[in-house]
């Protein structure tokens, strides 16, 4: 059994508009914040996982050139919205493999004002010319279904409703209502505004049943984590050991084949697989979780992940939500950060920012939104295509 890996330092920037900062500035703020939190320096880091999708290539090295060029291996990773979790997985794997005792993972994105993330485009021609794997004579987005994320995830929520019943436009809006209400206690969230269900349902329709306030918010932001081996941790101060957070499970999956998965992405099977592996690794079950940060890129997605993460009985996500347990004062608080719908979703940062949220509660440092007595939490992220990261974190024994 490989040794345990611990989060020694972790940092998240304010999410929102940062017009004067570029991706390297934001990454530097997160990385140096995490190092300071850990009580370490770049020269202590032995492996570096760097995640950024839309900025310049070689992001990891660009960041090193600003905060410390020490010659260590950099892994520039890309895994859609799971890029941050993937960067962290790289550092964790290196430590578990015994190749390093200290790793750094950084995820950063600038998305303010980008608008809708859309799909394929096709070169214009004045004759119908077949191209690509299906010999298309024109772009297919809008002609054969939709490539836009709000529409894809809307269908995923609707498919759950078709299978199990009980969903409605209003139900999905009430999930967004919860997350926006939670965000009012999170000073780092892009939006900290509570909305009524009526306001959410009457907001601009993007892709039914997802209105604008049921979609993740495009924003700028970064998050970073410093992880260490247990062997290293035991050489550090008692204060560092007290604040360290144990990574009890670190799992990354891709989507196994299932009927129709190349038609409408199947985000369920790989999430279920990741959750099951994580619970087994950690030796704990969903009942033990004090809080969950899950990938609510759209309100329709949050519903299916209650089920995928085994928080409820199979098919029982609607009843589970309707019981009120996922509100912050409920038995199973979900997305007390405000979730991606209000905290924001700078795609490569998200898979570390969710871990920052959970770790901050486990440390008892979450301020007004602290979940009292939190000892165990789960962070879930999914990148369409697909990649799913699940991390289970535990508070250090006192």
């Amino acid at each position: 059994m490989a040794e345990n890996v611990w989060i020694l330092g972790i940092h998240m920037t304010k999410f929102g508009k940062h017009p004067t900062l570029d991706v390297v500035d934001l990454g530097a703020e997160a990385a140096r914040g995490a190092l300071k939190d850990a009580g370490l320096r770049m020269r202590d880091v032995q492996v570096f996982g760097a995640g950024n999708l839309r900025g310049p290539g070689g992001f990891g090295q660009l960041l090193q050139k600003q905060i410390g060029q020490t010659g260590i291996p950099v892994f520039n990773v890309a895994n859609a919205c799971a890029t941050g979790a993937t960067a962290l997985r790289v550092a964790v794997m290196a430590i578990k493999a015994g190749e390093a005792d200290v790793g750094l993972a950084v995820g950063v994105e600038k998305l303010s004002g980008v608008g809708l993330l859309t799909g394929n485009e096709q070169a214009k021609s004045d004759t119908w010319t077949p191209a690509g794997r299906v010999g298309a004579v024109a772009a297919l987005d809008g002609r054969v279904g939709t490539d836009t994320m709000p529409g894809v995830f809307a269908q995923i929520g609707m498919e759950y409703g078709h299978r199990y019943g009980g969903t409605s436009f209003e139900l999905f809006a009430r999930i967004a209502e919860k997350n926006h209400a939670h965000s009012t206690l999170n000073p780092l969230a892009t939006y900290q505004k509570r909305f009524t269900v009526e306001q959410i349902m009457n907001d601009v329709m993007i892709a039914y049943p997802n209105t604008r306030s049921m979609c993740s918010a495009n924003c700028d932001g970064a998050a970073a984590a410093v992880v260490v081996s247990e062997r290293k941790l035991r050489t550090l101060s008692l204060e560092q050991q007290r604040r360290a957070v144990k990574i009890s499970a670190s799992v990354l999956t891709s989507d196994p084949w299932s009927e129709g998965c190349q038609v409408l992405p199947d985000i369920n099977t790989l999430t279920r697989a990741a959750a099951d592996q994580a619970y087994e690794q950690a030796g704990i079950g969903p009942d033990d979780l004090d809080l969950v940060e899950l990938h609510d890129c759209f309100a329709t997605a949050e519903l299916v992940h209650y089920d995928n993460l085994r928080l409820c009985e199979p098919g029982g996500a609607v009843d589970f939500f309707n019981s009120g347990v996922t509100w912050r004062d409920g038995k199973k608080p979900v997305n007390v950060s405000g979730g991606l719908e209000s905290k924001g979703h700078p795609i490569s940062a998200t898979g570390i920012a969710n871990i920052w949220e959970v770790a901050t509660h486990l440390r008892g440092e979450a301020g007004d939104r602290q979940i009292d007595g939190a000892r165990v939490g789960l962070a879930h992220v999914i990148g369409l295509g697909s990649a799913c990261g699940v991390h289970i974190l535990e508070k250090a024994a006192a």
Binding site: D126, G142, T146, Y208, E259, V263
Partner: protein, 131 residues
Amino acid sequence: MSEKVPLVDYLVLDGAPHLVAQECVECGARYFGRRNACASCEGSEFRPVDVPVEGELRAFTIVSHAAAGIPVPFVAGLVDCGGTSVRANIVNTPPDPEHVRLGMKVRLATTSLGEDSKGVEAVGFGFEPVS
């Protein structure tokens, strides 16, 4: 009669229009488009199979915001055609949740994308409610 081309190569226009899937000879997994191998069993032999033209709407969304140049609103959906999942727009019905319902029966319909500079018409497809 003017010449026609299908929007995608898995739409067959000769005779009664229908879709053709590539079925893995070994495990029966079905795909649309050119394949390198089977993602389910790694088999490399495929045979073309006709997909039923009628099906059931398993999921949908009504897209109101799309990339520039795409007319909205439109209905994008997932149709279960006798066990084969098909991605398509739902057409020939108003794009609202009163007319488009989960589980409704639909059937394949063709749509025109217009003619190119040589007078060739591109023909696409969608699914329309079975009344």
